[in-house]
């Protein structure tokens, strides 16, 4: 089975996000792999391990630092890595989805995985867009995938603990919420070893002017409508104040 994972390199939200003009200052933030893409990579490798085939990880190299992300994916069991060399840190989902769809088309995939969402999906996620550009079905919020003979059985999660199973004729795009097993860990030594031997295929971005069609007027931290009353002091003092608070409300 020919399996592809489309990934997104996104600004890390672990630290403050500095603003420049009407958008994030992309030059002064760290980029990380979208957390849902870790689940997508894991699910892809699990399917490969179950039915055989190859896993190709494809991403847009926005800031020239995607190699490490791709090396980690290879260390976890992906077979090939492809990067669309763009050098456009602020490329929106529409632009990236179009580039990725063009790059993926030539790979004739049976199954394409993507993270169900990313925190910077202002204009929507790349998964459904890649499906639309390739004119194949999409299902997101997926937590398990079994594939065989041109068909995939996927479990999609709904709210309130509800879920449903679907059978889909391949090829299709799957938006992964969570892999059916927790993502494996790639030891640093293995990643280093992969980095020394792996070849990453480079693809030039297709240029056809598709964009999100959004004008960002302002980007700023949310206006505070309320704020927690902060409990100050050492951890012990904080603990004591919380216990006191709970006792005063009859909750401890």
């Amino acid at each position: 089975m020919n399996i592809v994972v489309a990934i997104k390199h996104i600004p890390s939200i672990a630290d403050d996000l500095p603003v420049k003009g009407n958008n994030i200052d992309f030059d002064s933030v760290d980029f990380v792999l979208n957390e849902f893409d870790e689940q997508a990579i894991e699910q892809a490798v699990l399917v490969k391990e179950s039915v055989g085939g190859t896993v190709t990880v494809v991403g847009v190299d926005l800031i020239g630092e995607l190699d490490n992300v791709l090396h980690v994916a290879l260390a976890k069991g992906a077979d090939k890595a492809v990067k669309v060399t763009a050098d456009e840190p602020g490329a929106d989902s529409h632009v990236q989805a179009k580039w990725l769809a063009e790059a993926i088309k030539g790979l004739s995939p049976d199954l394409i995985f993507a993270g169900v969402q990313a925190s910077n999906d202002l204009d929507g996620q790349i998964g459904p867009m890649i499906a639309a550009y390739l004119d194949i079905p999409y299902i997101g919020g997926v937590s398990s995938v079994e594939a065989a003979d041109g068909t995939a059985i996927v479990t999609k999660e709904f709210s309130g603990g509800n879920a449903a199973k679907y059978s889909v004729g391949l090829p299709m795009v799957v938006g992964v919420q969570a892999a059916s097993k927790p993502p494996r860990y790639a030891p640093v030594s293995k990643v280093r070893q992969v980095a020394q031997t792996a070849t990453i295929e480079k693809v030039a971005p297709a240029s056809d002017g598709i964009g999100a069609g959004l004008t960002i007027k302002k980007m700023a931290p949310p206006v505070m409508t309320g704020h927690a009353e902060m409990i100050e002091g050492s951890s012990k003092e904080v603990a004591a104040k919380i216990v006191e608070l709970l006792k005063s409300k009859g909750l401890a």
Binding site: D123, M129, G140, F158, G161, Y166, A212, L214, S235, L245
Partner: protein, 315 residues
């Protein structure tokens, strides 16, 4: 182009989801300003549809739409909006709407705004507030062109103004649904056998900050002393540290306990959807700018392990 606002309603087993009413209420405001109609659009089978305060309701009743099917729903909505050219199409940023909004945008070439918290009109043009970067940033965006697709976060608008008795008009599917590649197989109802976190008075809820499965025991111990149960945010469940029955949030369960004590949860919008109406929210997090501090009643920037251990000594 018309000045109509379409709301794609959501239903499961014929029961309309709350967000459908929330969006209809907001759509009425926008439609009234532009002199168009707020149109509720219901896809399904045997749904009671005369429940909205919309100016009109379109009901596509078809066996292929009985359960959510992204391919079938997408095709119908695409055909409908291409035919009717509404000014705005509102969907939920939910398990179902998330499969449709960006897809519809790529199919129609019309812009999409996800994570939407509010829609307003400035100088006759639509402006959408979107909560991105895990709730750390609000983007104010103006969609270009004559039609915008907006995917709204649940709980952003009051549901009450969307309720009413407008009679629905039943229409045939505007496109053939023969030969779908996507087939609904079966529904999976919530797994039983574990405690029901929605029925608890007190929850000790752990997030990514708990660090590892081995540290869940500390949370269990603290919960035990408080007469509480341990719940979690999505990353903890995805990592396999707690079962999915304990997950609070958009893709998990909605809870409303008397006490929601949060250890190491930053408060992404998806989590807030599931717990923001808890009576007393106390959050402990090392990041003093974590969005959860905008929602919690009490907060502390502290090491959760130290605080939890110190609390154990006092309880």
């Amino acid at each position: 182009m018309s000045n109509d606002i379409f709301v794609i309603a959501e239903q499961m087993d014929g029961n309309l989801a709350e967000i459908s009413f929330e969006m209809v209420g907001k759509a009425k405001e926008l439609a009234a300003f532009w002199g168009g109609q707020a149109v509720a659009v219901v896809l399904g089978r045997s749904v009671s549809t005369n429940v909205f305060s919309s100016d009109s309701t379109l009901y596509i009743d078809d066996p292929n739409l009985a359960q959510f099917n992204p391919e079938a729903y997408g095709k119908v909505i695409e055909a409908l909006v291409k035919e009717k050219s509404p000014r705005v199409v509102m969907l939920g940023w939910t398990a179902t709407g998330m499969d449709l909004a960006a897809w519809l945008s790529a199919r129609t070439g019309k812009p999409c705004v996800a994570y939407a918290k509010d829609l307003c009109i400035e100088n006759d043009a639509l402006v959408v507030n979107s909560q991105v970067y895990g709730g750390k940033m609000t983007a104010e965006v103006a969609p270009d062109g004559d039609m915008a697709i907006v995917a709204c976060v649940a709980g952003s608008f009051p549901a009450e103004t969307g309720r009413g008795t407008t009679s629905a008009t039943q229409i045939a599917s505007p496109i053939s649904l023969d030969g779908l590649k996507t087939k609904f197989v079966e529904a999976i109802k919530p797994a039983g056998g574990d405690v029901d976190i929605t029925g608890q008075d007190k929850l000790v809820s752990v997030g990514r900050g708990i660090g590892g499965k081995e540290n869940i025991e500390l949370a269990e111990e603290l919960a035990g002393k408080l007469g509480a149960v341990v719940s979690a945010s999505r990353p903890v469940v995805d990592a396999g540290w707690l079962p999915r029955t304990r997950q609070v949030g958009k893709s998990g369960l909605k809870v409303k306990p008397k006490l929601y004590l949060m250890l190491g949860i930053s408060g992404a919008p998806e989590h807030l959807e599931g717990m923001k109406s808890a009576e007393l929210i106390i959050a402990i997090n090392t990041d003093k700018k974590a969005p959860i501090f905008n929602v919690a009643h009490y907060g502390a920037t502290a090491d959760l392990f130290e605080v939890a251990e110190a609390m154990l000594e006092l309880l």
